[in-house]
């Protein structure tokens, strides 16, 4: 990735290496040179771009997606130079929210935005971004949420000490506001913030004239134009390091809404054996090439429920780096299921990239549900009784066996005569259909 490679193993590397990478390197290793010598330019300077931070695992430069809960699930944030693909929910109610969070985060951090859509005018999209919650008002918002919780949740569980150290999902605001902000969905972003920010819009109906019917290299004209547009912006504004200006480097946040709709001229949603079946894959491939060589991050929302050919969905998933799918309960039988009454849908993390790495930073919690509260979009681990769902024959999402705290799923400790007052909960349990190895690993208590 351009400009963000870290000197992994070469901690405190040689002078030449440090000098060569000093100007454009972001590394967490700082050379402790002799300050007394007076030279200011000895050793690599920590170049930090606003709104980014290096990953704690491998130093990869990350930007926030706008939702701190999602950042945590993706291993700290979205890596610069990668694509975040959001598979839209059926009626496209919640995926525009993720899109807007991403863009709003860009505005708050002062990044440059590029918004592309075939459906809505980018200026209208920007008007509807959520307003940021400033630090002092954050606390009030969360306090009111806490008060609404039921009193039973106040009873603290006595957790075996070994599990006390496991990280909890962060639902509240972080105190440092440099990475990952909170937004109020019920309010619009102030106009001044939009006006002071730098953004480029690509609205397909305006860019396409009816005379362009030429299709070259099997890429739909709409996609071709978008790629040219992105390439021009990257080149002209120097995101790929082509203009070695002295001014501060910045990140380009690209947002492409509802890619693959017939409005783009792509018939991947219309038929199973479509003529331009490779158009979408080519677009993603070229886009990823553009992103890898520039300081940019991209979010794409795609209505995969409309795509007829499942092989294309698999290809699209492979060509993207991070893939998150939203599944809303609207219109499905789960809407009336009392187990899911607290949530509006499920969120599936389908893929996390392995960048310069052999493993990826998966979170342990696999069942995630989201809820759109009045002001916030929250993602929480889902605590449900799967057994009841299974008995009713309802389809279960393919996730790992959950950590269930409900009594009926607990395998009781085989005590013939339960003493009053004695007994403690295991934090995890296994399903009634049989012990699963995953659960047993966690059940083994420490010495």
């Amino acid at each position: 990735m351009a400009a963000v490679a870290t000197c992994g193993a070469g901690a405190g590397g040689t002078e030449s290496m440090a000098a060569a990478t000093s100007k454009s390197n972001v590394t967490s290793f700082q050379r402790r040179g002799p300050r007394a010598s007076g030279t200011d330019s000895g050793g690599p300077r920590l170049v930090s771009i606003a709104g980014t931070r290096p990953s704690v695992r491998n130093g990869q430069l990350l930007v926030s997606t706008g939702l701190p809960a999602l950042d945590q699930l993706l291993g700290g944030g979205l890596a610069v130079g990668t694509v975040l693909l959001v598979e839209e929910d059926k009626y496209s109610i919640y995926s525009p929210l993720l899109f807007k969070y991403f863009l709003a985060e860009g505005i708050i951090n002062g990044h440059t935005l590029l918004v592309a859509s075939a459906k809505e005018d980018p200026a209208d999209i920007l008007q509807e971004l959520p307003a940021p919650l400033l630090d002092d008002s954050c606390k009030k918002e969360f306090d009111e949420d806490v008060c609404n919780k039921k009193p039973e949740s106040d009873i603290k569980m006595k957790i075996a000490w070994r599990y006390q150290l496991s990280p909890k999902m962060e639902v509240g605001p972080v105190t440092s506001s440099r990475f990952g902000h909170y937004y109020d969905v019920s309010k619009r972003i102030p106009r001044e913030l939009i006006e002071t920010s730098k953004w480029h819009g690509f609205f397909l109906p305006e860019k396409m004239s009816s005379a362009d019917k030429v299709e070259c290299c099997s890429l739909t004209p709409g996609y071709m134009k978008l790629l040219h547009f992105i390439q021009n912006i990257i080149y002209e504004e120097g995101f790929d390091g082509s203009n070695p200006q002295k001014k501060q480097r910045n990140i380009l946040r690209i947002g492409i809404q509802s890619l693959g709709l017939p409005l783009w001229g792509d018939d991947v949603c219309c038929s199973e054996n479509c003529d331009s079946s490779h158009s979408l894959s080519k677009f993603l491939y070229i886009l990823r090439g553009l992103l890898r060589t520039s300081l940019s991050a991209c979010i794409i929302t795609m209505p995969t429920h409309l795509i007829q050919n499942k092989a294309i969905i698999a290809r699209v998933t492979n060509l993207s780096d991070t893939v998150v799918a939203l599944e809303s309960f609207v219109g499905s039988e789960r809407e009336t299921n009392p187990l899911y009454k607290d949530y509006h849908g499920l969120i599936h993390i389908r893929q996390i990239p392995r960048l310069n790495n052999l493993i990826c930073d998966e979170s342990d919690v696999k069942d995630l549900a989201f809820k759109l509260k009045r002001k916030l979009f929250t993602i929480e681990a889902e605590w449900t009784v799967r057994e009841r769902d299974r008995k009713k024959g309802l389809p279960l999402p393919l996730v790992h066996p959950p950590m269930a705290a409900a009594a009926s799923a607990l395998q009781p400790a085989h005590r013939p005569d339960p003493k009053p007052g004695a007994g403690y909960f295991f934090l995890v349990s296994h399903g009634v259909q049989g012990p699963s190895t995953w659960a047993i690993l966690h059940c083994t208590p420490g010495p």
Binding site: Y91, S92, I93, P96, A118, K119, E128, K158, A160, W161, R162, Q164, P205, L261, P262, L263, W264, G265, D266, D267, C269, C270, S271, E272, P303, H305, L306, Q308, V330, G331, T336, N337, P338, V385, R388, K391, K392, A406, A407, S408, P412, A413, H414, R415, P416, P418, P420, G421, A422, G423, Y424, P445, G446
Partner: protein, 314 residues
């Protein structure tokens, strides 16, 4: 009865109003058993009676047949573009607009008179069979999201596009693509003599709302709302009415008395890390009184302290 009739009139009028109010694309999905042209004509009549201009792109039936059944004042408000008689413009009379049917649609889009406009397409299936789906979608999107032309007042131009789609003619792809574009979707169906319309309102950025209405269409294309069929058939068994009570047949006690609760809270759990535990771990000698090893040798045990491996011949 007149009172019922009056109430019925109000309700059907409301229902059609709500369908027309949202603007954008109203997709009417019909099938062979439940035809939708009458419903389309009912909507057109409603729009015309409220004083709007209605432009119709007629492809499947002739103009005379389409206008049949409408009153004269409704007919005077309809602007009919006939593609049925001469779809490929072979007679070259110069009446047909250039660009074929989509060109005709685009031309409708450009003629901006002030006031809301309703465009009815009979039918979208005809267009989908002759034009690529993507182009049809793009034109429909351009129609429903028309930017106000310069020179005219920038007042909100409500454009409604009523499209009739015979869903059996198409695969799930085009139907899905058009539904994603539509603001309102009406699926016609019914049972045993009664027609029903299942309506889905997709307001932008809000959850879609569903509604089912039973109706019958009168000869003058006004709607008469009916009650649904008798509910003897399929009362949907709610799968969640009788939840399995998970607290039965447990081997441990879920309801504790106060004393039991106190006893439980006073118990130090083995894996809780408290300061006493820490002390006990750091100073192992003190807690010895609690742990004894009781060993009773049986006949086979060898209490010889020597190394048992000495016996081996290795």
């Amino acid at each position: 009865m007149p009172s019922e009739g009056a109430a019925g009139c109000g309700r059907w009028s409301e229902m059609l109003e709500s369908l027309l109010a949202l603007g954008g694309l109203v997709l009417l999905r019909d099938s062979v058993e439940w035809e939708g042209r009458s419903f389309l004509k009912a909507l057109i009549r409603k729009a015309a009676l409220s004083g709007e201009q209605v432009r119709i792109l007629g492809c499947e039936v002739s103009e005379e047949e389409f206008r049949e059944g409408f009153d004269s004042d409704v007919n005077s408000r309809l602007v009919y573009h006939d593609l049925f008689r001469d779809p490929l413009n072979w007679s070259k009379t110069g009446e047909a607009p250039p660009g074929g049917p989509l060109g005709a649609l685009r031309a409708m889009c450009k003629r901006t008179d002030p006031g809301p406009v309703t465009i009815a397409i009979d039918s979208l299936s005809w267009l989908l069979l002759r034009q690529p789906c993507t182009t049809v979608c793009q034109v429909l999107h351009a129609l429903s999201h028309r930017t106000p032309c310069p020179g005219h007042s920038p007042a909100v131009e409500q454009v409604r596009v009523l499209g009739l789609l015979h869903e059996e003619l198409h695969g799930p792809g085009p139907v899905g693509a058009l539904s994603s574009l539509a603001q309102t979707e009406v699926t016609l169906g019914g049972t045993a003599g009664l027609d029903s319309a299942h309506i889905v309102f997709r307001r932008p950025r809000q959850r879609p709302t569903h509604q089912t209405q039973w109706f019958s269409i009168l000869p003058d294309f006004s709607l008469d709302l009916q009650e649904g069929p008798r509910l003897e058939c399929q009362p949907h068994p709610d799968p969640y009415t009788s939840p399995v009570d998970p607290t039965t047949h447990l081997t441990f006690n879920l309801r504790l008395s106060k004393k039991e609760k106190e006893a439980r809270d006073g118990l130090t759990l083995p894996f809780q890390f408290s300061s006493e535990k820490q002390q006990a771990l750091l100073r192992p000698g003190q807690g010895q009184a609690a742990s004894h090893i009781f060993y009773e040798p049986d006949a086979y045990d060898d209490l010889d302290q020597e190394d048992p491996d000495d016996d081996l011949d290795v």
